[in-house]
């Protein structure tokens, strides 16, 4: 069997490179930060892993720096796998920066190994990624060769020769083991394979022995096959063209039942559904549904869809319906009661939010909160509905209705109740204020929140109930 491994030597740097319009990129890690990966241009300028930021920027002044994150690395590898899935299957993700596939199965589709690797390399280069492919008679051999210098051949003995010539430093073994081997004059895998394997195991531990056996194919390599994340798509032709929402209800419900079944099956949930209304001779009408929280139950989707449909005016006959869900998230197990019912007060609230959003639009619903800013106009913050409330420290008295923008005060107040309260701050974001606030009753009998600014002008900034 022949395996093909694709190593991404600059994976994360290449990824960020796509964001910086081609300016050189380096990744940093640790405190004080040092360079851990540099893109090819930065590398050409002399930037190398281990350098301090000062050195790196000294060598390459236009360098863009990003902090290294393992999560980002995993995500990029998954994206690459998803993209390559069209070409390479079966595919295995090998953290942190490689993909493994079987070359002999693919070989039948391509003229030669070169054609295959050439095609992969071109595809990846088009995406902005450097890669280094290598083959091996075992997965681990392919990986070692790819990570070291890359070597593609279908010739077993040639691959074995290349493997034996690999330095022990090319392996994933702990640094202490590699150091120990070097200190005994065992510099290459060939040197190691020349030693009596039992003696080696007794001195350096069974793990090393097992790894060598995996490289040689004397021990199986457990592999997890990669599958791109699932999508849901279903299309339903209507028995009869219609403009009536009522008539759409049943087919929609049918589709959403299928979706619910799929989601239950895979322990998924989703928050965004694309419903498409297909017309006989006009472009289709897309409809984007967003739920307040991740959902999986058909009723919730249906109710939302009907609200949307009722709000819009169907001007063309609908011939068919389809729904697409491309973003799926795994569902936390939720407690259900004996009857499969798990509606709690929160759910009722969530349901209300769905409906309000459908009626008023997603951007129209906010939850008020406060922030510790001395300036009244900045002390209010609008948040996503459903967030936990802010702490309610007892501060000074504030009007519930803030007059924004403030209106000039045109009459002398009837009676002063409190003041002055001086508020001064906000220099940091450019909206500096300095005001003296008063609470006063106006001639109209309304209780107002007044302030005098630095230019001694008076304004009304709020009303007390």
């Amino acid at each position: 069997m022949l395996w093909l491994y694709i190593h991404f030597p600059l994976m994360l740097a290449d990824h960020y490179r796509t964001r910086t319009a081609g300016a050189p990129v380096a990744l940093t890690r640790g405190t004080p930060p040092v360079v851990t990966q540099a893109c090819s241009d930065a590398h050409r300028a002399g930037v190398q892993p281990g350098q301090s930021l000062a050195t790196a920027q000294g060598l390459c002044p236009e360098l863009n720096l990003f902090p290294f994150r393992e999560r980002a690395q995993t995500r990029v590898l998954e994206q690459l796998a998803t993209a390559m899935y069209r070409f390479l299957s079966p595919l295995t993700l090998w953290e942190p920066d490689g993909l493994l596939t079987q070359a002999d199965q693919l070989g039948q589709l391509y003229e030669s190994l070169e054609a295959l690797t050439g095609c992969i390399t071109r595809e990846l280069r088009g995406m902005g990624f450097h890669c280094r492919p290598a083959t091996g008679t075992t997965p681990r051999m392919a990986r070692l060769l790819a990570r070291h210098s890359g070597f593609c051949s279908e010739d077993g003995p040639a691959l074995m020769k290349a493997t034996r010539a690999l330095p022990v430093t090319a392996t994933d073994w702990p640094a202490s083991v590699k150091q120990r081997l070097n200190q005994m004059g065992l510099h290459t895998l060939g040197d190691l394979l020349n030693c009596c394997s039992n003696e080696l195991a007794s001195r350096l531990g069974p793990e090393l022995q097992e790894d060598l056996q995996r490289i040689l194919g004397k021990r199986a390599e457990p592999l997890d096959e990669f599958h791109p994340p699932d999508r849901f798509h279903q299309y339903a032709e209507l028995p009869q063209e219609t403009r009536s929402v009522d008539r759409l209800r049943f087919p929609l419900e049918h589709l959403f039942r299928a979706l619910e079944h799929f989601l239950r099956e895979h322990q998924y949930a989703c928050g965004r559904i694309r419903v498409t209304l297909h017309h006989p001779d006009r472009p289709a009408t897309p409809l984007e549904l967003r739920t307040a929280r991740q959902e999986y139950q058909a009723e919730a989707f249906l109710e939302l869809a009907l609200l949307h449909l009722n709000a819009m005016k169907l001007e063309d006959d609908v011939q068919a319906l389809s729904i697409d869900v491309s973003h799926l998230v795994s569902r936390d197990r939720e407690a259900t009661d004996l009857f499969g019912n798990n509606r709690t007060r929160n759910e009722a609230l969530a349901a209300l939010l769905h409906r309000l959003r459908a009626r008023l639009g997603a951007d129209s619903i906010h939850q008020p909160g406060s922030r510790a800013d001395p300036r009244p106009e900045k002390a209010l913050r609008w948040r996503q509905p459903g967030a936990s409330p802010d702490s309610t420290e007892t501060g000074p008295i504030r009007p519930v209705w803030l007059q924004q923008p403030p209106i000039p005060l045109r009459e002398p107040p009837h009676r002063w109740l409190n003041g002055p309260e001086r508020i001064q701050g906000g220099w940091w974001d450019g909206d500096y204020v300095r005001r003296d606030y008063y609470i006063a009753v106006l001639a109209s009998g309304r209780c107002a929140w007044l302030y005098r600014n630095h230019q001694r002008q008076w304004f009304i900034h709020g009303w007390f109930g």
Binding site: P33, L53, P67, L186, W428
Partner: protein, 1026 residues
């Protein structure tokens, strides 16, 4: 209406207060306040600073402190009206602080009993129903209580003040107006917000909790106070202030009494000890001149009452001497005849004429300064002795106030403004903070990374303001305060970060300003090495050797130094010092005193080095303006080199009064923190002009003053250091093996690595033997060849990095007299674990047991068999079939560096040269013989890259090859074009021209290339930009 502010915190309430104590004092004085109470939170750390400024401005300063108690709502302020109250307050603070980790405190109402009798209590209640209960309790304790009213212009002002009025009526106690001041002027508000954000850890852009809503907590002008407070509340402040008549000037330091026997006074006892010392120091009778000086010194000490200070130091030095710990005093009073007779210094007054009076000045009222250096490995013994002898109540370390410096200020300000930490890191990296010409702000702006929009545009101005703000208290390196009774009577004591260490809340400047003496117990690596070398000499020649036994003024020693052969020698081994030696050509002890002081920022920035060198060529041509100048400058050929000379010139030539000269000295010492000597510039230049000196000379002197700031190097210190320079040079010259051995056994110390020291000593003819389990001791030691008397150095097992100390000792202790015969024998006799055995193999210490390191390690890794009672024959061959490849020379070298940090094999450069990879490159030793201005090519390991602040834009690279070191000078333009090899190379190839000046050879770099690939894996680290 008059007013006294009674509640005010400074920036020594870390990250709450936003003004320096001196700023608060100045502002209070400017506003015409009757008095100011500084009430930092559970701290008197700012008192001394405030006191100094208040004394100058004649403002009444009240000692006080603010507390937030565990079981009392609100804020309590205690003021100290008397000396007894100061002590009580200081004890209360000490109690609260000693209970908690560094930087925190905890106090309960019960603790206040300490202060009930003495302090004035002001309380701002928590505005709850419990207020009257707590108020009653406080009033019962303190007798009287005052309620603090504030007007921060908050919404609740009126409500709260009504509440206070009501509560006051209930408790029958007065209300007093206070400001709860956090800053001296409103304009500090941005900084106040910034430190709040730093303290709470939430950036301003993400709405920091605890921000003050306005800028009202400042020292308000009196008319405004009149509008805000009822008159009787303001009057109450004056009533309180009138009760406070304590000043820090009343603090008197009482030295421990136990050092003086009952039938003596300190004066007679000191005289007795000095008389005894004379008999020891001058066995042939004291010369008349010395005798006269001694009498003069004793009279001076008596008139100033400094005997206990000398006696305390004498006691510590005596302990060290008895324990065999080498020590040496330095500083203004250390080089007196009195100190020579007491054995505090070895600087013989017959060899150098340093008048004590030059250092202890009666009219200037400075305290005497004696620092005592002890062996760095044994200083802790001395510290423990002090704690043992005087107890922890009576001895404590002085504090060092750690302040914001540009880098930390930018980092913290950046974080508080919500900038991305990586962005801030990008900004601060690569800035040359020392460069005064091109200050960091300009460098930062040149980077062009800083946005001028949003919060970022405030970064530089706020960081600048934050600069010099205290951040926390740390312990001084060794300044002890030893008191006759409790130290906490004087100043609060708190916990240091280090376990079992306590520090007082004042630093050395505070102590000095208050006239309190401290004893500096410092550590010096060279003393350790010297003691070890002297012991080795005793081993070789017999007898007990001391510093005094080293022959003085040996011409061979000076000849060696004149050639610049000073690696390992104290003080003059740095690259700059080394290159100065052949130019200065020291011939006597005083030349060494000059040499130590001349390669320092002061003389260099004052452009004094070149004139001095010129005058040394032709001493007769030196002319002096008048005799007074001659008296100051004659010893240094008319060129001011020492800090004392600069100060005396200011007095003699510019007409500074004694008091002004003292201010100048303080300002120079504090220059690093405040960076402002400009106030003295005009006075210096005008004064000197009017006395007939050129403006140019005056300007030069001013630049020199700036250079001395922070790095001040006085003659009194140089004199003591020069003695150690001479002693260590003598050892290097006459006992090179013992010297090398002692240096290696005292690492880490000095400027060079063990590898560089060994290479240098071998080039100078010292034989060095490798680490070997059958020959090495735990430490490095001398081996004597029976044929001749020259000893060789045998490297010790302690050099093997991964080997534990315990294992090394076991290898030596269990070694049979015939040595270990096989690795098997070593294993069963020592029963070492695998890691230790591998470390031995790695260090090549098994060279007499195994064929090579590879095989030794393979053998050792064999799992332990059911071994073997000790009587089983150890000569059984190891049961191994596999034969490891023999190491190549490069492998050995690599492993030597990895496990020992040095190698006795061929130098890597010799190896590479042997492979023919460095054709056309000349070696370091032949460069020294090359003709000037000739083009050459050299290559070497980069062992140092330095960019000194004093040489703008130049990078100095030190290269090492098998024959020695090379100095490469890279000009800025060259560096810019070739940054990559300059910054990255570990093996650097340089084409350039040879430049020689006064026997010093440099290579001016032209083309640089990186040859690091030739030594890949060779573990040689460059010491970058130290």
């Amino acid at each position: 209406m008059e007013y006294a502010e009674l509640h005010c915190i400074s920036n020594l309430t870390f990250l709450r207060g936003a003004s320096h104590p001196s700023e608060l004092v100045e502002e209070a004085q400017r506003l015409g306040y009757r008095a100011l109470a500084l009430t930092d939170e559970c701290s008197l750390a700012g008192m001394a600073r405030a006191h100094i400024r208040a004394r100058e401005l004649e403002l009444t300063l009240i000692t006080g402190s603010e507390f937030h108690l565990q079981d009392l709502p609100g804020t309590l302020v205690l003021l100290a009206p008397s000396r007894a109250a100061h002590a009580a307050l200081s004890h209360l603070i000490t109690r609260g602080r000693r209970r908690c980790a560094k930087g925190r405190y905890q106090l309960w109402k019960d603790d206040l009993a300490l202060c009930h009798q003495h302090c004035i209590a002001l309380w701002r209640p928590g505005f709850s129903n419990e207020d009257s209960l707590h108020g009653e309790a406080l009033k019962a304790g303190f007798g009287t209580l005052r309620l603090m009213a504030e007007r921060p212009l908050e919404q609740a002002d009126h409500h709260r003040n009504q509440w206070l009025t009501q509560l006051a009526r209930e408790l029958d106690c007065p209300v007093v107006a206070t400001g709860n001041v956090h800053m001296h002027q409103r304009s500090r508000k941005p900084l106040q917000d910034l430190v709040t954000a730093i303290r709470t850890g939430t950036p301003l852009t993400r709405s920091t909790r605890g921000l003050q809503a306005n800028a009202e907590r400042y020292l308000r002008p009196r008319p405004q106070l009149e509008r805000l407070f009822p008159a009787h509340w303001l009057e109450e402040t004056l009533r309180v202030a009138r009760q406070c008549h304590f000043s820090l000037d009343e603090l008197r330091y009482e030295y421990p009494g136990e050092l003086v026997p009952v039938d003596h006074t300190p004066t007679t006892w000191l005289r007795k000890l000095v008389e005894d010392g004379q008999a020891w120091r001058f066995p042939d009778g004291t010369p008349e001149a010395i005798r006269a000086q001694l009498e003069h010194e004793l009279a001076l000490i008596e008139s100033l009452g400094y005997e206990p200070f000398f006696l305390t130091i004498n006691d510590i030095v005596r302990f060290a001497r008895q324990s065999g710990i080498l020590c040496q005093g330095r500083g203004s009073a250390a080089n007196s005849v009195v100190c020579y007779c007491l054995g505090i210094t070895e600087v013989d007054p017959r060899r150098i004429n340093l008048l004590l009076e030059r250092f202890i000045s009666k009219e200037r009222g400075e305290p005497p300064d004696i620092d005592v250096d002890f062996e760095h490995e044994r200083r802790e013994e001395v510290i423990q002795y002090i704690y043992r002898k005087y107890g922890r109540d009576r001895a404590a370390l002085a504090a060092t106030v750690i302040c914001y410096r540009p880098r930390s200020a930018l980092r913290d300000a950046g974080k508080a403004l919500g900038l991305d930490p990586l962005h801030v890191e990008q900004l601060v990296q690569g800035i040359d903070w020392r460069d005064r010409e091109d200050d960091w702000q300009q460098q930062l702006e040149r980077k062009g990374l800083l946005s001028n929009r949003g919060p970022a545009r405030h970064l530089i101005s706020l960081a600048r303001e934050l600069l010099g703000f205290p951040r926390h208290l740390s312990q001084h390196v060794g300044g002890f305060v030893i008191a006759s009774r409790d130290v906490a009577d004087l100043v609060p004591v708190e916990n240091a970060a280090m376990a079992d260490r306590t520090v007082i809340q004042w630093d050395k400047d505070d102590l000095e300003a208050l006239g309190l003496l401290k004893v500096d117990v410092l550590s010096l690596g060279m003393l350790t090495a010297t003691r070890k070398a002297l012991e080795l000499m005793g081993e070789r020649h017999g007898g007990h050797w001391t510093l005094a036994d080293i022959p003085t003024e040996d011409p061979a020693v000076y000849r060696m130094l004149q050639q610049g052969r000073s690696m390992g020698v104290f003080q003059v081994e740095s690259r700059a010092q080394m290159s100065m030696l052949p130019r200065l050509r020291p011939e006597c002890y005083y030349d060494l005193v000059v040499q130590v002081a001349i390669v320092r920022p002061g003389p260099i920035q004052g452009n004094m080095v070149h004139p001095y060198l010129q005058r040394r060529q032709n001493p007769d041509a030196v002319a002096y303006a008048d005799d007074r100048i001659r008296a100051v400058l004659e010893s240094t050929l008319g060129v001011p080199i020492f800090q004392e000379q600069v100060i005396r010139l200011a007095m003699v030539a510019a007409g500074f009064s004694a008091g002004e000269a003292d201010q100048l000295r303080r300002a120079m010492a504090a220059w690093k923190r405040h960076g402002d000597l400009s106030g003295f510039r005009e006075k210096l230049v005008n004064g000197m002009n009017s006395n007939g000196y050129s403006t140019e000379f005056a300007e030069q002197l001013y630049r020199q003053m700036c250079g001395f700031g922070g790095y001040g190097f006085p003659e009194s210190h140089a004199a003591s250091f020069a003695l150690l320079v001479y002693v260590s040079a003598w050892l290097k010259c006459h006992e090179p093996a013992a010297f090398l051995c002692a240096l290696l056994n005292s690492q880490p110390m000095g400027f060079y690595s063990a590898s560089q020291l060994v290479q240098n000593a071998r080039r100078e003819g010292v034989e060095v033997h490798p680490v070997d389990v059958n020959h090495s001791g735990v430490k490095h030691r001398l081996e004597y060849d029976t044929r001749d008397e020259t000893p060789a150095v045998r490297l010790g097992l302690s050099l093997v990095r991964a080997l534990t100390g315990e294992a090394a000792e076991r290898v030596v202790a269990r070694r049979p007299s015939t040595g270990y015969q096989t690795t098997e024998e070593l294993r069963y006799r020592t029963d070492l674990n695998r890691a230790d055995l591998e470390a031995l193999a790695g260090g090549g210490a098994l060279r007499s047991l195994a064929e090579n390191r590879h095989q030794a390690r393979w053998d050792l890794l064999e799992p332990t068999m059911e071994l073997a009672l000790p009587d089983v024959s150890p000569s059984r061959p190891p049961e191994t079939a596999s034969v490891m490849p023999a190491p190549r020379e490069a492998d050995t070298l690599l492993e030597d560096y990895a496990s020992l940090g040095l190698s006795l094999e061929r130098h890597p450069l010799a190896l590479i040269r042997g492979r023919g990879q460095l054709r056309h490159c000349v070696t370091a030793d032949s460069v020294h013989q090359a003709e000037p201005n000739r083009p050459v090519a050299v290559a070497g390991l980069v062992t140092g890259r330095q960019r000194p602040g004093s040489a703008a834009g130049v990078t100095f690279v030190t290269l090492e090859d098998e024959t020695g070191n090379l100095n490469v000078v890279v000009w800025q333009a060259t560096a810019r074009r070739q940054r990559r090899p300059l910054l990255n190379a570990r093996l650097l190839h340089v084409k350039g021209t040879v430049e020689q000046q006064d026997g010093v050879t440099h290579i001016i770099a032209g083309r640089l290339s990186d040859l690091s690939h030739l030594i890949d894996n060779l573990n040689v680290k460059s010491r970058d930009f130290h």
